[in-house]
């Protein structure tokens, strides 16, 4: 039978990603991959989590295997709030928290509830691709604000806000990854954080702060969250257990004003009823028994060495007029190559020669950044990082005829 007439609109909304298809091919081949956002499985606390899972099921199985509230298991939400407060994330009396099926679901719930078709929203340019994809299903106008080594250029944001206002348009929210940005690796300066919140107040918009990485930075860095600096209830704060424990259990959360969290709860009710109860009990025990802290310490050491390895390799192998930022944390950095290079065009060659990366253009709201690539440094080994970057350097030089 012919399904096309049933799915015409949806096929347009949920488009197949050319890059995703290409990278599926990569998985089957033996190449050095800088593509994923995968934690190094060395960091997984297998023995501890195995014991926790066993004990949770034996001791609390009646609850841990049962349906649970849409907002999340109550005792886990309490543990999370305490954890966040301990890490200097401000939780105010007007706030509430909802557990999500990974923080991807947080982005989806925000998209489904806060965006009306035609709304104006702002993101960094580049920004996290999966956020862009989730937001776009609600058909907003996305305005990109460029970044530099201090994160979002808020003076450009201000100008854009002014222009939008003068043409009668308002911005609903600004989405930002202030610390250890994905894909760019940048961290927002304290001045810009302050400026962003001033603009939020002046132009009356919400700030969506996506913060998967601040809990395990590698250097001394100011990780003060926008949520903590906010005094007007404008910040909706997302984070996740994916990088500090395990992505495979799919536990994220949104912390924010009660009224918005209640709305997210109603949307989640219809989306998947609730996040797996077992995952929440495991995460709760892992926080309380210090397993998260141990994982973070381990991850920090492993990733710092890998981050330093990719930075040296880039310095040694990349041509002049390339640019990247030293990330204080996270799993990624982005390399801007000379404008003659088209990284999408270059990818098949790279794969043939044994290396894969993610071309940068899709991370850009306007599909600019054709000369950029996102590199993940958490998953490949040190040896792979060294030889992978060497191969990439060689290909780029050849393309440039140097």
């Amino acid at each position: 039978m012919d399904y096309s007439k049933f799915i015409a609109r949806a096929s347009e909304v949920f488009r197949a990603s050319e890059i995703r298809e290409l990278l599926k091919v990569v998985e089957a081949r033996k190449v050095i991959s800088f593509t994923g956002g995968y934690p190094d499985p060395q960091t997984f606390p297998r023995e501890s989590l195995a014991k926790i899972a066993y004990e949770v099921i034996v001791n609390y199985g009646d609850r841990a295997l049962q349906y649970s509230p849409t907002k999340g298991v109550t005792v886990f939400r309490q543990t999370l709030i305490k954890y966040l407060k301990d890490k200097d994330v401000k939780v105010s009396k007007e706030d509430d928290i909802i557990v999500t099926t990974g923080s991807q679901q947080g982005l989806d719930l925000i998209s489904r509830t806060l965006i009306d078709p035609g709304d104006y929203i702002v993101t960094e340019n580049p920004t996290y691709l999966a956020a862009l994809t989730a937001f776009r299903t609600a058909r907003p106008n996305v305005v990109g604000v460029p970044i530099d080594e201090w994160g979002m250029r808020t003076e450009v944001l201000e100008e854009k806000l002014r222009n939008l206002e003068s043409s009668g348009r308002r911005v609903k929210f600004v989405y930002t990854i202030p610390i250890a940005h994905n894909p760019a690796g940048t961290t927002m300066s304290p001045e810009r954080k302050k400026h962003l919140l001033e603009l939020a107040s002046q132009y009356d918009f919400i700030v969506i702060e996506d913060d998967p990485y601040s809990f395990f930075v590698y250097d001394e860095a100011d990780v003060t969250r926008l949520k903590t600096l906010d005094s007007e209830g404008r910040v909706v704060y997302l984070s996740t257990m994916s990088k500090v424990l395990s992505p495979g259990i799919r536990v994220g959360w949104i912390l924010g004003p009660q009224q918005l969290i209640d709305l997210f709860e109603r949307a989640k009710q219809s989306a998947d009823l609730h996040t797996p109860t077992l995952s929440q009990y495991i995460a709760k025990e892992a926080i309380e028994k210090g397993v998260v802290s141990e994982t973070v310490e381990k991850a920090r050491k492993i990733y710092r060495v890998k981050r330093d390895a990719i930075l040296s390799a880039l310095s040694e192998n990349m041509v002049e007029n390339s640019w990247w930022v030293k990330p204080v944390g996270g799993l990624f950095l982005m390399v801007w190559l000379p404008p003659e290079i088209d990284t999408r065009e270059m990818l098949p060659t790279a794969i043939d020669e044994g290396v894969a990366y993610v071309p940068g253009a899709p991370f850009f709201v306007d599909e600019s950044g054709r000369n950029t690539m996102r590199l993940n440094f958490s998953y490949p080994s040190i040896e792979e990082i060294r030889s992978g970057i060497e191969i990439l350097g060689r290909i780029v030089r050849r393309k440039l005829g140097r």
Copy 2:
């Protein structure tokens, strides 16, 4: 700050449920509850699942704690396909399968991809409330078809299809729970299944078959699935591990034509990346090690006795002119009371006297069925079932002045 202008549309789409709020109050009080759709925790294979979880994490932790494909863990999908084939669910060469975060997510993905605003879709009247809620977020026109003890009255469906066609309207899909219907407890007769598929072919629509219950019926019953009878690739088949293993791990699936599954995959990518990897590995081992079969055998025995208990209690205590069906499986039945009774109005009295149920009207597309209530018989104990139904009978007689 004032959030209302940010969420005006969404507050309309994702409405707070009055009944849900009322039932939240119930949880805090000590009443006999026929409200939930909770499996009896006695059925949970705690020891076996605890061991499986431990071994999965120790032996395959690198994979089980890691990100995994959006369509589901490949080895689990293979296990599922084999399981379904063993249970006589037809899996054709043109089919594919996607693992969902509970079958609620399956309903949500279908809503987001198959329904365009204004589309006509059909459900049984009454139907599963959470399906109705999920579908309505996409703003379709929902047409309800009445049921009797043999399930959906397909001759009424045919008439409605004819009328819609004559006014130039087409139905996109028919959603049905053929076996052990929630809320009504009915099972579709073989003749009606055949008729439904003939109509699907004639009027060119898709059939969404929601089948959480056929794997553990209590009596001899014909559980042949529409999916198995379908020869045109019209049936999209949903099921779940929730009732045959544990709802708390949130593992459901959709089996259907590849082209539709690929679309669901793209929508799920943006919704939550993937269903928890750990849950999928646990479900895989539980199927392969026979833990699911054992759970089903245990559940079948427990629920049969409870079902028989509620049926006797109803016969003894309900007034004349009440109607219900003996369910061959599932966790629910619906009682139609005399038309003078409004079950929503009666609920506070019932709660005061120690019993809670779900008023039936919201399960009806047209909010009819004000004289109905849904009763869950899997969660309360036999003793609770007996005294709960006795109390309900008394209240109804009092309301009727008998």
